[in-house]
Subunit: 455 residues, 2 copies
Amino acid sequence: MRKIFSIILLAGLPATCMAQDSLIMRKISDEIMLHGKCYDDLRVLCKEVGHRLSGSPQAAKAVEWGLEAMQEAGADRAWLQPVNVPHWIRGKEQLKIEFEGSSDKVEIPILSLGNSQGTDGKLLAAGIVMANNFEELEKMPDEAVKDKVVFFNYRFRQDLLHTFHGYVDAGPYRWRGPSVASAKGASAVIIRSVSTGIDDFPHTGSMHYADDVAKIPAVAIGNSSADMLEQKCKTGNVTAYLTSECRMLKDSVRSYNVIGEIEGSVYPNKVVLVGGHLDSWDAGDGAHDDGAGCVQSIEVIRAFKKLGIKPRYTVRAVLFMNEENGLRGGYAYDDSATARGEEHIFAIESDAGGFSPRGFSLAMEDDKARQIRYYRELFKPYGLYDFEQKGGGADISPLHRHGVPAAGLRPDPQRYFDLHHTANDVFEQVNHRELKLGAVAMTQLIYLISNYGLK
Amino acid sequence: MRKIFSIILLAGLPATCMAQDSLIMRKISDEIMLHGKCYDDLRVLCKEVGHRLSGSPQAAKAVEWGLEAMQEAGADRAWLQPVNVPHWIRGKEQLKIEFEGSSDKVEIPILSLGNSQGTDGKLLAAGIVMANNFEELEKMPDEAVKDKVVFFNYRFRQDLLHTFHGYVDAGPYRWRGPSVASAKGASAVIIRSVSTGIDDFPHTGSMHYADDVAKIPAVAIGNSSADMLEQKCKTGNVTAYLTSECRMLKDSVRSYNVIGEIEGSVYPNKVVLVGGHLDSWDAGDGAHDDGAGCVQSIEVIRAFKKLGIKPRYTVRAVLFMNEENGLRGGYAYDDSATARGEEHIFAIESDAGGFSPRGFSLAMEDDKARQIRYYRELFKPYGLYDFEQKGGGADISPLHRHGVPAAGLRPDPQRYFDLHHTANDVFEQVNHRELKLGAVAMTQLIYLISNYGLK
């Protein structure tokens, strides 16, 4: 009994408050489901701004859009926070494949991996060596790999029910595959996309060159092309003809995080943060990744103001710049918070797609996690039940490393890695109700924490 | 303690069995996620057979397809069960609208409501009277409605988080709206579609004429057109010009339920049923409604056979005919079961779309429901958590009325009523992983019940 009582105290929720909170949570839901602006905001961001890689003109346009959207949502204050971001450009790129016994070359859709070095626009022609995983490559003699194009044919594990587990499993082939192949003397790398898709969209995404290897070109191909290439590699010699212009420019670009806030009535200097990232890859619309998280975060501000909810702690929405290929926005925000001595009591990020929300992942001390799990019953009517996963979000990870309790919105993960980092991550793939339900859940949690704190 | 023990006995699940079951459930999941055929089956049903309204040539083709698919899945026996179905045909249909002060007529996309009578191909021209709900129409004097076209402008409640609750709320405008308007002397009815969509797809679906009213034409329009028509009706006189050929033909058509089964090793005469409905509306592909339920039911048979699972009770998959506009398949199946003295210990239907499964609805005595809820922990790794909803499915409702415990697969409901009964319910709207996860959940539950029974 004492334990139950202490949990209730901990959660700051006597029974009368629970009933009151449940009513306010319903008002939040009604407001967003009936009058929410996040879906319309997303249309504008996707279709009028478009994709917005860090350093690009569209990223600059997105910053302007974000500031205006934050002001229109009714933020007490909205401002831009300077961030220097890397400037990677794609340019033209083409991969053709020639099979033994055929004089025709077949063009395969590709996306160079983010931050990779291309062929300087020159033709790179070399035989392909297929490796199904790192171990297979390691076992090959160096001379069999030297000057060849390594094809990492590692498949996304469709048997893993949480696709983010599959992403963690296959992701290393994108992130460090190029360095592993380069260390063996390869001249370039082709990877089977880190993708659950049963189509031919290539998926880009960040890669990283180890300090001691040559920066060889690295491209992703879609699953259908990878299936075809796998068959061809099993039955004969295959030659790759790759031309690409991508490169990291020397100079960084001045960009911005976009911030809006509602001042806390009791603790104006203590911040509850909600955010997503404003930059995207340069394919598709960056709709699920992470236009969704941005417009949901703006919706939190809008719903608070529209409903006249006055938070006791300051509620701050942040659209981070450069999550995809540098995380400079997350670091700049954290540096600024440290420099200003700002206290963040909680930070949550939505960066897993605009799908039906199923719960929140938590990265914090047990006592605090227990408080949030205690709210679980309040979220059940909204279809959220899973409060057991770990983790927050990339942009808030620098804050978290400095001790800020972090969380992530966890939507249904089944469709995300069909679309992630592809030309198919477009506005039309986002469902209006699913997107809004995510905004509802975030607003409700921010309401609870900005009212009760996190003890 | 005794209670807990009795629940465990009730569920037939000592702890060792739980561990064993958990392993078999994982094998089922791996098999379907890696090698499942339901998505490929759905492609064939949608793209080679197409939509398949009862009585249509495509419905006949779907029956052939279903029998073959059931045999290929490895059913011990597969057969066709005769059903006489109504034969409603759509023919051509067109609605144009003329606004006061404009000489141009605007054409609006429509779908006549299923089972409704058209204009016999003749032009029906009449002024439109808008009513936001039944109460508004009732309050109007009869002479204001007589010979007019009633526009029921009732909106789907987007604030209801379970869209099936919204469907129950708005559905009566489709089902009995035409009779209500006819009783007031209207010459035709236009309804705002029963739709969560923010687009202009009209949604068809069954309607029913009361015995004592004239059978007036009834059509649905999409939400965008309804928004426009609402504005026009508020500001001036609007005239409808409707031509339609739809009608119910006098003669019923011989069709079939498609059935496949695996004989139970201990109780061959006791049946555990899993099913969906094979017919669809004559728009789109009938992909979510209910191609999904059909291919998932076939997948249950396939996975059992592939994994060598020998059920103690007979497992039977049924593709019911004529759920959409008659339910004759459900009645015929029930009649046959009664005539043959077959005992059904459990029946489950998948007819809520091929989306990520979230749980099972239950329609049965408390003791039996408790047994299934006891399995909840086993389903958590697969994302199913909601075992609290009531209900089974339409096709198995005749069985349920005779005492058979019934259940329904409950997928995420957010996108269903954007697509339901429209030209947009196509194969491309179904995600391969979400569809397969539904098949996994059904196979797992059928495994548990065909092994332990339902006590």
